[in-house]
Point group: C2
DNA sequence: CAAACAGTTGAATAATTGTTCAACTATCAT
DNA sequence: ATGATAGTTGAACAATTATTCAACTGTTTG
């Protein structure tokens, strides 16, 4: 590569070295990006917004968000695997709810940022 | 579609109606998802983590993150358009820095969540 | 048991997106 | 002006991904 070499400049070199040393762990940053990737879809954000208000079954989520059960279920699987939502079966229905309060804090902080 | 209709159930209907009414504005949720989409890439998160420590030029960012200037520049454009970073020219170099403190709060909150 | 409802799953499709490459602009030094 | 360095940009390619459709499992009820 060697594409990124600025002209020899001691100040730059020192800053770069310091920043490199102080960077958060690579894996942590990767995991944070993965978390944001999950939030970065309006369908999933709407699902989480709905679940923030009430525990709901797949069918009702579909009704509220105007989506097929299949589409909702696919997204719920992603949220489940990320441990962002949990579920419990009650007869034929499976009720979903948020698994974590942090999640809501992060989304609300972002909502505040959006509203300026 | 009509795929999402649960069996007639008054309780469900009432919950659905209430949740629907109390849902945040559709556009706000869309914008939040767009913001998260930007954070949902490890390259951009790493760029933001670096800029959180020091104002840096494109070249140095490339050195710290081990990426070509082109790849860095492409991502900076996205961050710039979202008003997440700002820049200033100094001779041949263009220095980038974070444009907003909220951004860092959101990322740090997510980092805490990751670390459990 | 059979029918009906709730939910999941896999394949297919379409759309989005991150990186590379090459060509370009802009600034500074000789 | 020429060359060198810093940065940007557009096209191309590969990879990821959200939704749809159809077929499936699981549960309840008649």
């Amino acid at each position: 590569m060697k594409d990124f070499v600025c002209e020899d400049n001691v100040i730059h070199d020192e800053v770069c070295e310091q920043v490199t040393v102080d960077m958060p762990d690579e894996n942590e940053l990767y995991d944070v990006a993965e978390l944001f990737k999950i939030f970065g879809d309006s369908t999933r954000i709407r699902i989480l917004s709905a679940l923030a208000q009430a525990e709901m079954c797949v069918c009702d989520l579909g009704a509220v968000l105007n989506m097929t059960k299949s589409a909702v279920s696919h997204q719920l699987r992603i949220l489940r695997q990320a441990k962002i939502v949990k579920n419990r079966r009650n007869g034929k229905e499976i009720f979903y709810s948020l698994d974590d309060d942090h999640v809501l804090s992060i989304i609300n902080l972002a909502l505040e940022h959006i509203k300026e």
